[in-house]
Amino acid sequence: MDAAAALADLVEISPQIEAAAVVSGDGELAGSVGVPEARAALLARAARELLDGSAAFRSDQGRVTQLRAELAGGDVFAVAGEEQAIVAVAREQVAPGLVFYDLKRCLVALNAGSTGGKAADARQEDRAAERGPGG
C-alpha cells in the first residue's frame, strides 16, 4: 500500500487526526494528508529531528517506537518503524491509546501491503452495519 492510500485510510478511521505524514529515515516526506503542501517537507524534517532528538537521550542507542507531545494547541503523535515513521496531529483531549493503535495499524499497512486497507474496509462495513439498512 502506498503512503497516500494508507494515510487516507488513517484519517478516515481516525477522525480525531487532523493531519498526518509518512517520514522516511532521512527525514524525506513520503506522503501526507491534511498538511499544506508548502509546509509538508518542513513538517517531515521537524518530525524526524524530534524522533532522533528523543532517541539521543538514551546512551544505549535505544530506538524510539512512539512519542506523544502534548502542546497547548494540540497533540503531536509519532510511531516509528525500522525505516519510516508516521507523524500525526490531533485535537486536544484525544484518547492517546486509540491514536497510537491507529498509527501502528497504518504503519503495518504501509509495510505489509494491503492489510490496513482491508482492516479499514472491515471497519467501514462494521459502521455501515451499525447504522442499519437506512444509514
Binding site: 491534511g34 509546509r39 518542513l42 521537524a46 512519542l67 507531545a69 497547548a72 496531529v89
Partner: protein, 69 residues
C-alpha cells in the same frame, strides 16, 4: 450560628480561590513529551526540563507546519 456560616463561606471561598490559582499556574503549562522505546521503557519530559526545552519546539514546528495549531 452566623459565625459558623461565615466560617463555612470563608472556607468555601478560599477553596475556590485556591483551585483557580492552582489551575492558572499549573494548568497552562501542561506541555510535555512522552517517549516510548523499543525495550518497553518510557520517559516523560515535562515543561521546564532541559530535554523538553530542546524537543518541544520541534513538536511545535510539527504542529504549526500541519496548519492546525
Amino acid at each position: 450560628m452566623t459565625r459558623r456560616l461565615l466560617a463555612l463561606a470563608g472556607f468555601a471561598s478560599g477553596a475556590l480561590a485556591g483551585t483557580a490559582v492552582y489551575r492558572r499556574w499549573f494548568g497552562g503549562s501542561r506541555e510535555r513529551l512522552d517517549v516510548y522505546f523499543d525495550d518497553g521503557s518510557f520517559v516523560t519530559f515535562g515543561a521546564g526540563s532541559p530535554e523538553a526545552a530542546r524537543l518541544l519546539p520541534l513538536a511545535r514546528q510539527v504542529l504549526v507546519a500541519s496548519g492546525h495549531a
